[in-house]
């Protein structure tokens, strides 16, 4: 099992009803796996849809919770600046479960000279805003990633709030950037 498939399987096994994503080269294999397992193609399936910006993704997928279901967002961590107001004033304030998986940038394996300026402080920014953050990297295998993503979704539902999983693909079978 690849790390990307592990994330995708973890998202579905958490009971996720619908997934929105903002593309990155790192999350593309996750999206492909989600779409393939949902009878779709070319980045779209009945329950998986592209969205144009992280902020709207929080709004669109956060709204799923009003129907008693779980929504999920797959994105890259440099988009949390766009998403923070929606995450706090909507999903946190309205006690809405939402599973967010984001690949990390700006660390080991990074080629970009400036993306660390947003990506490096993301975990601290999210925690300062009151969001639970689970961090995954090369030190655990795909099975652990799948379990952690699944449990993050379950935890989100149990605690009525968004939960963020950050995954570093460096030294895994995935692509960093």
């Amino acid at each position: 099992m690849t790390y990307a498939k592990a994330v995708a399987d973890g998202i579905w096994s958490a009971g996720t009803a619908r997934v929105g994503y903002i593309p990155s080269v790192t999350v593309a294999p996750i999206i492909n796996s989600l779409v393939a397992s949902d009878d779709g193609a070319n980045g779209v399936s009945p329950r998986v849809t592209p969205l144009s910006r992280e902020e709207e993704a929080i709004g669109v997928m956060g709204a799923v919770a009003f129907t008693g279901e779980l929504g999920a967002v797959v994105m890259q961590d440099n988009g949390f600046g766009n998403a923070l107001t929606a995450l706090t004033t909507f999903t946190l304030a309205y006690h809405l479960p939402l599973l967010v998986f984001a690949n990390t940038r700006g660390g080991l394996g990074e080629y970009n000279s400036m993306i660390h300026s947003i990506s490096q402080p993301v975990p601290a920014i999210l925690r300062a805003a009151g969001l639970p953050v689970i961090e995954l990297d090369r030190r655990s295998g795909p099975e652990d990633w799948q379990d952690a993503v699944q449990e993050a979704g379950v935890h989100s539902v149990m605690t009525y709030r968004p939960v963020v999983v950050l995954g570093s693909f460096w030294n895994t079978d995935g692509k960093v950037a």
């Binding site: 144009s52 902020e55 709207e56 009003f66 279901e69 004033t89 309205y94 809405l96």
Partner: protein, 192 residues
């Protein structure tokens, strides 16, 4: 047409519909007309109403009447992605009513782009079925027409600048809004 007059019309038309409403004066004026359990007030999150309504439209069951979003021009311009995303995802059960007064009425009446940018044309270009209105009778007629279209629907309602006098701030705990709105969906037997 004043905003509160438009909202009185919308309240009379939406008692069976989930209604997602933008923040500040629009939310509090809507609540002053009727504080319904079918109302999802976004007390902050300016710009997010259209996105939330889109997600709701994608998620509710087919027996639920169209999801109605009450949005302002300043708020839509803060997140204009609502238009291409709605056009792309194309939920046929979404009706966005834009109350366009050309200003940020809740924040000092500073101007928005809308006097020079045609938001209805933007919506149409993105694939929404559109109508416009500047009277209460026109608003009612356009709303009823758009209930029948299969595409996401956009009703461009021109309203006067200004806020209703004597309307109290909406000081509801957002968690209670979630509880009652979700319960309204569930009790109606409409949620997926």
């Amino acid at each position: 047409m004043k905003r509160i007059e438009a909202l009185e019309v919308l309240v009379s038309l939406t008692s069976r519909h989930p209604v997602v409403v933008t923040c500040a004066a629009t939310s509090r004026e809507l609540a002053s007309v009727k504080d319904g359990d079918n109302h999802l007030y976004l007390l902050d999150s300016m710009g997010l109403a259209g996105s939330v309504a889109t997600g709701l439209a994608l998620s509710v069951g087919p027996s639920v009447p169209k999801v109605v979003c009450v949005e302002g021009d300043g708020s839509l311009l803060m997140n204009p992605n609502v238009l291409p995303t709605g056009g792309y995802l194309a939920p046929g059960n979404l009706l966005l009513v834009l109350l366009d007064n050309g200003v940020y009425a809740s924040t000092g009446a500073l101007p928005t782009y809308s006097p020079r940018i045609d938001l209805e044309k933007l919506a149409a270009a993105a694939g929404w079925a559109t109508r416009s209105a500047d009277t209460t009778s026109g608003l009612r007629a356009a709303f009823e027409e758009l209930l029948a279209v299969p595409e996401p629907a956009f009703l461009h309602a021109r309203i006067e600048p200004g806020n209703a006098e004597g309307v109290e701030k909406l000081l509801i705990d957002p968690v209670s809004i979630t509880g009652r709105f979700a319960l309204w969906l569930r009790e109606a037997g409409n949620a997926v």
